[in-house]
Symmetry: C2
Subunit: 138 residues, 2 copies
């Protein structure tokens, strides 16, 4: 019977978990010749198209950064820009079909994470899902 972990312990474990997940993600992305930043961008866009600015906010980087990243993704036809119909300053970025396949493939290839999740029962997966949703809400 484990005692309650301190918040610091939980932060430490979170850091470790994130770091493991990130390493897994990065090497799966590298298999597709994608950098971590490029793949992270695809991952964010998997949920929904987004403007340059909101992408930058989600990825915690400067907006000027996104220009280059999206340029390179667009050159490979993984993503496309579209001027917003309601505000001509805004450019909405969306995944192409190829881009969608790419990020799905990356997630399928994250073996460490997949193996880890396989160790959970259905109830445990449901509970993990619930807890993560509480801690990291949309």
């Amino acid at each position: 019977m484990p005692s309650t972990p301190s918040k610091a312990q939980l932060m430490e474990l979170l850091a470790h978990s994130v770091s493991t997940h990130y390493a897994d993600f990065t090497s799966a992305a590298a298999d597709l010749s994608l950098t971590a930043s490029q793949a992270k961008t695809l991952s964010v866009l998997r949920r929904a198209p987004a403007s340059m600015r909101s992408l930058a906010h989600t990825l915690a980087c400067d907006a000027s950064n996104m220009t280059g990243i999206i340029d390179r993704l667009e050159k490979r036809d993984l993503v496309h820009r579209e001027v917003s119909s309601t505000d001509r300053r805004v450019k909405n970025v969306a995944l192409t079909e190829t881009g969608e396949k790419a990020i799905d493939t990356i997630r399928e290839r994250m073996e460490q994470t997949q193996t880890g999740l396989d160790k959970l029962s259905e109830e445990e997966r449901t509970e993990l899902f619930r807890l993560l949703t509480v801690v990291f809400p949309h």
Copy 2:
């Protein structure tokens, strides 16, 4: 009554959680004028000293990368190199006291994550701790 999430849904949520955590971490690190890579390195070293090679492995990057990152951290006295006593090729990197304080401060300042964890009861925190340990073992 939530149904069991599919593995893909769980991967998606994990990606979102990691991304939120990462953004939080990056901006807390920036407050201390540390880049994400530098702070991540400190985070790994918080557990235990490590050689250049094992750092590179944990951070999923080339060993030659670490040279520059550790150089810059050492210049700011957050970390120090020490030639291994058993193998003179190996350099072990360890946090200085300043470095330890830096990473602890960063974790304390991760407001989004802290706020999220505060939403959990003690039992839930214990359970999250257990589940993460299963999915991402040491």
